[in-house]
């Protein structure tokens, strides 16, 4: 504010006493500087901070309206001729125009906008006020949702104007789209053969979407799809539809008729939708019944169990060539045969697992491979397929039996009734061959010898376990500790005066295990040794 007054001093000394803004429009000033002052008087007090005004004494500096082009003070000084100087001046001016302290809110004089006043009002009101609750709550929720969404959209960087003019129903549909069950992700998994018309027919399966209350719908979907998802049928909803339809055809004549109609209309989705619209809501739940509950209940568990596998096989058929699959089946059969011949125990175990899988998958394919394909090409032979599943279902118990036997063999029962695994034969073999080599013998250990060694190992551990238990009990402990093992080794005459457990460990064990042993505190070890001495004395006394 000091600046304009000084300037006026220069031109018109009369005005220096009065406030500059008030005098700007006075008729006294008009002869000297009419235009500039009028222009500068308005904006300066509001926008300009006093700092800038002090730094730039020129009148032009005080007119921010002029913009960057008029900005240079070159008019006052000697005009810079070189482009470098021009640019430097311009840059300085720009820096002066948008410095940090102008942008900073705290330093600036806040101008009151209507928005600020509204904000302040809302802040003061927010304490006392409460959110409005409409008296019929259920009906009001619907329009409220999009209304709540609108401000979010507008706050975003690009406000979409036409949104407001859009019908509210559209907005609601958007919301419902997000809420919808994640079926869309399943669609890409559909095999290529399925045309897009059938993809749309997924809607056909859950037509209740538009008719049912929403909560009911969600619950029911989870119920139905839970069964299918357990069987691992995620992507093949359509196939499942197909099989279920086929299955029902064998059961019910009326539905056969309906499905025939469906087949006719299968190409166009619009017709299907018309069909679904024609049906009654309640009735359709049962009739549509791709996932009908009552029918599921009627089905035998074996049928349900086999269905997904054959479906999967069928889809793989569609993906590969039929010849390829045949080759694979052949190879699988060969491998099974070869494994059968092998007498090795481990190999047998492998064969078990392999065989289990093989029976589950490949043999099924073997029998019903072509049939499945046919059933997929035209739905006519679907009855055959359903018959097949029933004939093949007896295979299941056999495989389950095998698995149970395998588990039984793996886990043995000790005397105390606890299960324990058998000592791995690979470790026995490694240890034995290492020992034989150190003794300077022939390293080769035949399978029979190895089996005997493993058996002996089991016996040994049984014996050691019982001995250690007896020792721990004698010491009045529940837990088996190092002292017990040392005592046992003493009794075995493995640990003697000049042959401690540690020298033995050094001789026999790999370094990692030695480290583990040495990690224990030294005190404890010493105490053990003393104890050992005491026990020796006691033994001698007893003897």
């Amino acid at each position: 504010m000091a600046e304009p007054s000084r300037k006026r001093l220069r031109t018109t000394p009369r005005n220096s006493e009065g406030p500059p803004d008030a005098n700007a429009e006075t008729p006294y000033n008009d002869p000297s500087t009419p235009n500039r002052r009028a222009s500068s008087a308005g904006p300066t007090p509001g926008r300009r901070t006093p700092n800038i005004v002090v730094r730039t004494p020129g009148a032009t500096a005080r007119t921010p309206r002029g913009g960057p082009a008029t900005r240079p003070i070159s008019a006052r000084r000697a005009a810079p001729t070189t482009p470098h100087a021009i640019r430097a001046l311009r840059e300085r001016a720009n820096a002066a125009r948008t410095p940090g302290h102008v942008r900073r809110r705290s330093g600036r004089i806040q101008r009151e906008t209507p928005r600020d006043t509204l904000r302040a009002l809302s802040r003061t009101l927010a304490r006392g006020s409460q959110p409005l609750e409409p008296s019929p709550p259920s009906e009001d929720q619907r329009p409220r949702n999009p209304a709540l969404d609108l401000p979010n959209i507008e706050d975003g960087p690009d406000p979409v104007v036409p949104r407001l003019s859009m019908p509210l129903d559209d907005m609601y549909e958007d919301n419902s789209f997000h809420d919808a069950p994640p079926r869309q992700s399943l669609l890409p998994d559909l095999p290529d053969d399925v045309d897009t018309g059938t993809m749309h027919s997924l809607e056909f399966g859950r037509r209740a979407y538009s008719e049912d209350p929403r909560a009911m719908f969600g619950a029911r979907v989870s119920e139905r799809f839970g069964d299918l998802n357990e069987l691992g049928v995620d992507g093949e909803d359509f196939e499942v539809d197909g099989t279920f339809i086929n299955r029902r055809r064998t059961l019910n004549a009326d539905q056969l008729l309906e499905e025939a109609i469906d087949d006719v209309l299968d190409d166009t989705t619009t017709e299907i939708r018309a069909l679904t619209g024609r049906r009654d809501g309640r009735q359709s739940d049962i009739d549509l019944g791709v996932f009908g509950e009552d029918l599921d209940d009627q089905d035998e568990p074996t049928f349900r169990f086999t269905i997904p596998q054959r479906i999967r096989a069928a889809t793989t058929d569609e993906q590969r060539d039929v010849t390829q699959l045949d080759e694979e089946v052949f190879v699988g059969a060969e491998a099974d045969a070869g494994l059968d011949v092998e007498p090795d125990a481990a190999a047998q175990v492998d064969e078990m697992s392999r065989g289990f899988e093989a029976v589950g998958w490949e043999s099924d394919n073997d029998d019903g491979n072509d049939m499945d394909l046919q059933a997929y090409r035209d739905e006519a032979s679907a009855i055959d397929r359903s018959l097949q599943t029933e004939t093949e279902s007896p295979d299941r118990p056999a495989t389950a039996d095998r698995r149970a036997r395998r588990q039984r063999r793996e886990l043995k029962l000790s005397k105390s009734g606890l299960e324990y695994p058998s000592f791995p034969s690979a470790t026995v073999k490694r240890l034995a061959s290492g020992l034989v080599k150190s003794q300077g013998g022939n390293t080769k250990i035949s399978k029979e010898t190895l089996a005997t060694l493993v058996q002996t190992t089991d016996w040994f551990f049984e014996q050691v376990g019982e001995d250690l238990a007896a020792y721990a009990q004698h010491a009045g402990r529940k837990m088996i500790e190092d002292a017990d093992v040392v005592a046992l080794m003493k009794r075995q005459r493995q640990v003697t005066k000049n042959n401690t457990s540690f020298s033995l460990a050094q001789k026999m064990l790999p370094r990692e295990l030695l480290q583990e042993l040495r990690m224990e505190p030294v005190k404890k070890l010493k105490r053990q040794k003393r104890k050992r001495m005491e026990t020796i004395n006691e033994d001698e006394d007893e003897d």
Binding site: T449, V464, A505, E512
Partner: protein, 77 residues
Amino acid sequence: MPAQTLYPRATVKKIVKAHANRPLSRNVDILIFLNYALFMQELLKESRIQAKTSGERGISAKSVRKVREGVLRKFKG
């Protein structure tokens, strides 16, 4: 150093625990495995001697079977 790699510690622990019906302290299984290694050494040594006396070349299952009862008795605490 006969055993170059570690043995399955958890398995040994489980086996002994099942037989003894008692919990094992932390590093007992190492000592037990040491005992087992000594036992195997003894068993193989004896069976080798047995195989030699009966005129076989390597260690056979028969020789192990003949010897193991005595070795087990020797390692009975």
